[in-house]
Symmetry: C2
Subunit: 411 residues, 2 copies
Amino acid sequence: MSQSAQIRRGLQALRQKFRARYRSPGTSSQPDLHSKKSSYICANAIPLHSHQNCIEQDSYVSRKASRKTAGKTPDIRTVAALAKVSIATVSRTINGSPLVSERLSKRVWQAIRQLNYFPNTHARTLVSGRSRLFGIIVENITNPFFPELIQSFEEIAVAHGYEILVSSSNSDPIVLTQCVRRMLERKVEGVAVMTFGEEEPVLDQLVHRNVPIVLAEFKLDDPKASTILLDYSTGIHEAVNHLVTLGHSKIAFLAGPHKLHSAITRENDFRTAMKAARLPIQKEWIIECDHTLKGGVAGFGNFRSLAKRPSAVICSNDMTAIGVLRAAYLEGLRVPQDLSVIGLDDIDFAEFTLPALTTICLSRADLAHAAFEALRQQAENPNDPNRKREFLVSTRLVVRASTAAPSTSKR
Amino acid sequence: MSQSAQIRRGLQALRQKFRARYRSPGTSSQPDLHSKKSSYICANAIPLHSHQNCIEQDSYVSRKASRKTAGKTPDIRTVAALAKVSIATVSRTINGSPLVSERLSKRVWQAIRQLNYFPNTHARTLVSGRSRLFGIIVENITNPFFPELIQSFEEIAVAHGYEILVSSSNSDPIVLTQCVRRMLERKVEGVAVMTFGEEEPVLDQLVHRNVPIVLAEFKLDDPKASTILLDYSTGIHEAVNHLVTLGHSKIAFLAGPHKLHSAITRENDFRTAMKAARLPIQKEWIIECDHTLKGGVAGFGNFRSLAKRPSAVICSNDMTAIGVLRAAYLEGLRVPQDLSVIGLDDIDFAEFTLPALTTICLSRADLAHAAFEALRQQAENPNDPNRKREFLVSTRLVVRASTAAPSTSKR
DNA sequence: GTGCACTTTCAAAACGATTAAATCTGCAGA
DNA sequence: TCTGCAGATTTAATCGTTTTGAAAGTGCAC
């Protein structure tokens, strides 16, 4: 039995060898130009060989043949045959290995161009273990902040030969978990979790699979997770001081949803800034919104019933501020004469609101850059003990037209 | 020589056979519960077996072993060993093949859950030829229309087990070509080209590689390219009629960039609608803009120097209209009293401009749905002669607050 | 006990690349 | 003339799946 198995094996091995020989041996003494032409014809002529006398390989060859005739996708073998080298040499050439001589390299590139060949990423990933894929998970792709962030991130990634997988969690932990799962299936080399503070449910999966992570604003005690610290404090202090300088003292804050760490940080930084400016904080002037435009409209509506109303509002993000702008307009309040409004993010749109929004700028480009660098660092030096790093992205006030001195006469 | 080669082969085949035996044979007579436990231990115990007496397999086994110990990623073999079946059975179970008995299927799923295993997409793609990836190329991801489109598309795709690759061309043919190249490398099963009319440079590559395409608004004489026809006509007629009913006759049109087919279609539909309403078209009231907010501001500026100014403006997209809103505000014109403005797209934001924008709605959800169905149809029935289809997405007017009767007194 | 359909499971080839190991090719030195 | 040593090239194993064709059970009639 084991004897017969051995013999069967021998036969199979032989067949395999024979199949591997399907590319024509060719005569190596032909001049260069000519040899190219002849081997090209040869490569395309493979289907013609399918009527060979060996029965067992028919199915293989014919399948191969049919694929070649429909034949849109040249593979590394096609290139090798055309360039008359082994597939290893082709692979080396493509990957810029110094082990390939000038002469062959030229021939291989010529063949690659002629066939318009490019390697199959899946095959590459499978054997090399590197997918050159990064995932980026954002909170809500319809908030303009995130497309702008994605755009920057994509640009940088592509420039470095990476591809990105985008998902938006819509603040739903279940969706988030599925995003992560899908990214793991695709073997991403790292994930930028740009949800600004609801990441807990995903961390387990990623950490467990040993996938690098970068988090905005949430530190994780894992060597695989880098962190981007966001210094809202600077910008928020500037904002408060700006209002104080203009003569405001009744300053409200429309916060983000408390389930986001970032929202809480922003709110706390506001409180600190107010304290530093020696201004009182009215409890009913701090309202939790949801970082959406509608939320801003609704949030500002809460002030309507108040006896003592704020003369200025700082918002946890720009969308909320735009909502306030709208709510004020509907209520007949003029901005900035009757009400000053400050946003946070400085989305592209902020420049074009009516009036143009004074806001705290959080650079998407900086953030994207930090996120990419963090991931790349970890992905490319998996054993570097210092691969985990912290990045700092700062904020600053951008003064536009939505802030002015309060009209003392009126309130 | 060929004799010795044969012998060498035989030996190698044997070695291979031996290696394949690395998972323990186990005794098949154990009761179910117990067997699970014992095989679990067995699977994890593989590293212990590395001190075997066969020298040639050392490197293989030990590498395998070290991977197992660092072992974050269980593969199909791990599952098979744990469930005490062959990897083929595991594969069948996962893919719901009817050839697996109830009893085994249960055992396999149990193992899968226990290991938190999921298949490697790259390996799957490689062998099955199906990547379950669709590409979507948009014009400019920072135009809110597109994130909304992407969001819908992604939702539908994920619900059907597909993943998406997003790229924005930024109206640059070179960037576009690179996007397509990257998508081809990842072996996408189809590409939705949502650039609305500059697709020519990419078609070649995709058609040549036999990749299904769906185009918005541009017919291609290829059986692999489905088309989504956009009926702007309905919405634009409604818009013109709406303005006419309000009493407008001096209607301008801020067009999109002429390099986009869609922009030209929209403009032509406007002309047709004007003719149908028996209104004169002033040449200087039709201006080519670039579909951006800034472009809208600039475009509207052209009217300032005119002796005879329009009382209403229809814009080729919402961003342009928002630009007009801003330009009018800066100029001191009140919307809608002094100027009526109509956009096109109905991006989420349109509801929240000041005043809320009257606009022609082009449903992202419908568009995304059509695009996905078109691709799926083609990807899953590669030989169906009717796989190429045409979809129609219509438009309709949404009246909000940016349109009103012209103040006759003033102009 | 044998033979024959019919299930069920298994083993091995294949997908398209990378890469370690083996082989080949010149050429210098004994 | 032969050996040894680089450097250039090729060979073959490998990644983790799917998918066949073959093997092994199973049940039943003869």
